[in-house]
């Protein structure tokens, strides 16, 4: 059996490993379009803040790892998928497959404003991007960060670590609007402001122009800010363009069924490019998070080898460290109709917990300023544990979630 994987990010690599573990004799080809060995984009901010060097981002650290695993790594950008011929077009030739996994990930996208092609404007998505940022984000440099979503906030941390003078511009009415509710998102904003970062929410960039050696960023709130560097982190989009004409059905991403198989038999998708089932809603969605990429990859690879492995859906969840304030969100953090919310806000100490219930089951949660045992929130949501009497106790004090978990499962 010949397996071809498009994309050498976490989903591609974990799929290759899972395929190898399940089938010692399979031929496996992993195609990535970047020059570096397979690496983790998630780790890039830690390169920028100096915690690791570039090799620290590599998904697997051992020299010759993929050779030893019997995985052929090809550098090239896949131009086309030809399901009729069971082949993909790359580097001017065709590579044949019996089963194909598309794990081509997503790419950073620019908002539709003028001047974003000027020098000194970078995404923070690839290692190559991070080198451009490193060159400009020197101590005391003026930096405008466009976008305070999840990725923007991770970059924010490393930019501050580099000692820049930072202004953050976010279209939403709070920071991390797709991960945090208003109370939590505004608490993160206050925290950042307290740490010396200028934050504009409900604000968009209207355009960027050259102003001498600097860039001038005009904002929708009437202000204009000069900058040495503009980092654009306003969103990502799945890499699906090369599938045009292939018959693989896409919406935002590649639509997959419960076996991670696309509309074309034998072609699977995993990770940021896959629009798979969401555990909480049962609907299909592009989650674009690391744990989902890993789970998708494992299930897809098993299905590719013929080991039928249905996937129940992935739970949306995120963890973020914004200048030392750790936040998490899980599942339906904005609640469900007819559900109940337990909430405790400690504005002074920047601590927050909200729990969302459907009857006596936890369906979503947000925490700020808590680092211990946060994983049980995932556990409680994903097992659908009935909390019984503990639900009322949590309504009174949502910080007792670890006790509730132990009472429901261990005692």
């Amino acid at each position: 059996m010949k397996h071809v994987i498009i994309g050498a990010g976490p989903a591609g690599v974990i799929a290759a490993e899972t395929l190898r573990a399940a089938d010692a004799r399979a031929e496996i080809t992993l195609i990535g379009d970047e020059p570096e060995p397979p690496y983790s984009r998630m780790a890039i901010p830690y390169v920028l803040s100096g915690i690791i060097d570039e090799t620290g981002t590599y998904l697997r650290k051992d020299e010759g790892y993929f050779d030893n695993l019997g995985v052929e790594v090809v550098q090239g950008r896949v131009e086309k998928v030809n399901p009729g011929k069971c082949s993909v077009t790359v580097n001017g030739g065709n590579v044949n497959y019996d089963r194909l996994l598309i794990a081509s990930g997503s790419r950073a996208v620019k908002p539709p404003i003028s001047g974003l092609d000027l020098p000194g404007i970078h995404h923070c998505w690839t290692l190559e991007d991070s080198r451009g940022i490193s060159d400009l984000a020197k101590e005391g440099a003026k930096v405008v960060l466009m976008g305070a979503g999840f990725i923007g906030c991770i970059i924010l941390e490393s930019l501050v670590a580099r000692g820049v003078e930072l202004t953050v511009v976010e279209m939403g009415d709070r920071m991390v609007p797709r991960m945090m509710n208003r109370s939590a998102g505004n608490m993160i904003r206050r925290w950042c402001e307290k740490k010396g970062v200028t934050v504009f929410t409900s604000t968009r960039g209207d355009g960027v122009e050259q102003a001498g050696t600097e860039l001038k960023v005009t904002l929708s709130n009437g202000k204009a800010i000069n900058a040495d560097l503009v980092v654009v982190a306003t969103g990502v989009a799945p890499n699906i363009e090369f599938l045009e004409g292939s018959g693989v059905k896409t919406d935002t991403g590649i639509l997959v069924d419960q076996y991670l198989e696309s509309s074309v038999p034998g072609i699977y998708a995993a990770g940021d490019v896959a629009e798979g089932f969401d555990f909480s809603t049962g609907a299909r969605t592009v989650q674009a998070i690391q744990p989902t990429a890993a789970d998708h990859a494992r299930a897809a690879a098993l299905n590719m080898t013929g080991i039928k492995t249905p996937f129940r859906g992935s739970l949306g969840m995120n963890v973020l460290d914004t200048l030392g304030l750790v936040s998490t969100s899980f599942g339906l953090w904005n609640g469900v109709g007819g559900g109940e919310r337990a909430e405790v806000i400690d504005e002074e100490n920047f601590r927050y917990v909200s729990l969302e219930f459907d009857e006596d089951q936890l369906v979503g949660a947000i925490t700020l300023g808590h680092t211990d045992h946060v994983g049980v929130l995932r556990g409680l949501i994903q097992t659908g544990t009935h909390l019984g009497a503990w639900k009322q106790r949590l309504m009174a004090d949502p910080t007792r979630v670890m006790e509730a978990y132990l009472a429901a499962t261990q005692v």
Binding site: A43, I52, A294, F311, R312, T328, V376, G379, L406, V411
Partner: protein
Amino acid sequence: MQRSLQIDPEKCTACMQCELACSYQATESFNPSQSRIKVFMFHETARFVPYTCTQCAEAWCMKACPVDAIQVNAETGAKEVIDSLCVGCKVCTIACPFGTINYSQSTGKVVKCDLCGGDPECVKACPTDAITYVDADWTGLDKMRAWAAKTDSQSGAQA
């Protein structure tokens, strides 16, 4: 034969010796907040529950790590955090459905039970045998394992 921690809450008196021993082993300080094992107290029912990583086969933490910083110790079976590789991204802390891998703000890394390399200090410190180190097949962790399986997103039909 690999061994694992067996915890019997019935025998726990909440003396907290395990937390002290663990924190000393891990950080050379007697600081329960640094302990990898925690005793939870249920005063309503007078129950005390020592709780730490079960080194579960699913290894959610290890599978979620983006930089391969959690690896299996072949000798003990423990999933260990390799400090030099951990970047402190914390994805493992939300991936572990048991909440037994946690971020330490003092080190900027995540911490979890590593079975002390095969000679767990909490076991030696426990005066009532509430925590013992036994052959893996004999542990009373079946309930927890069953729960782990239930959390497995790769099992069961799409809801």
